[in-house]
């Protein structure tokens, strides 16, 4: 169980963006291969 994703929700319109905070998480790596456009890397 790793806290490798942070979901940022716009407080005004509910737009949700998932940011990756742990690139070494193998489970998240699998999810990123399945859904390549769902997660974003923070700038």
């Amino acid at each position: 169980m790793r806290n490798s994703v942070k979901a940022v929700i716009d407080a005004y319109n509910g737009t949700t963006t998932f940011y990756v905070f742990d690139n070494n998480d193998p489970v998240l790596a699998a999810y990123r291969r399945i859904f390549p456009s769902l997660f974003q890397t923070p700038r």
Binding site: A7, V8, I9, D10, T16
Partner: protein
């Protein structure tokens, strides 16, 4: 008797218009009107137009006219399409301002919980979101999301309460 309160052969309304509603036009020293247009801060709109030489003093071609009203005067220099665009822009700005003033962030972050679970149902979300202020001044809720798996060794079952759907069993690693 005050002509406003009294009666006239043309009616009292005409007297009221004659006394109070005449557009202000004074001869004398030139005054600079405020350079504010289209009722953003005032309902007075100033414009300049070309007048005939016979009606000007000191031989100047330009004469400044001051029109006062509620911003609905036709100046004659703004074409109707441009006037419509200006009105649309003003209404859009007013609507944007109203939306900014009334846009309060939702107090309950659970308002969009269903949408988040639909977006990523394989993640386990924390039930204690916190609010942050971005560089642009907008408020955003941040929720920690966890990846879970049942396929790892050296695990013990862990149920984080309401953080997971009822059908999901989360696991956490433990070192022994």
């Amino acid at each position: 008797m005050n002509p406003v309160n009294g009666f006239h052969v043309r009616g009292p309304a005409h007297a009221a218009v004659e006394q109070h509603a005449r557009p202000e036009h004074r001869e004398g020293p030139e005054r600079d009107p405020p350079e504010i247009y289209f009722g953003l801060l005032t309902d007075t709109m100033s414009t300049s137009r070309r007048a005939s030489r016979s009606s000007t003093s000191a031989g100047r071609d330009q004469q400044r006219h001051l029109l006062s009203g509620h911003g609905r005067h036709r100046t004659g220099r703004i074409s109707p399409p441009r006037s419509a665009r200006l009105r649309a822009r003003r209404s859009g700005q007013a609507a944007l301002q109203r939306r900014r003033q009334s846009a309060e962030p939702p107090v309950d972050a659970e308002k969009h919980s269903r949408a988040r679970r639909n977006l990523a149902p394989f993640l386990t979300f924390d039930q204690d979101p916190y609010i942050v202020v971005g560089d642009d001044g907008r408020l955003s809720w941040v929720m920690d999301a966890f990846t879970t798996s049942e396929q790892l060794s050296l695990l013990q079952a862990h149920r984080p309460g309401r953080a997971a759907p009822p059908s999901t069993t989360c696991a956490t690693a433990s070192r022994r």
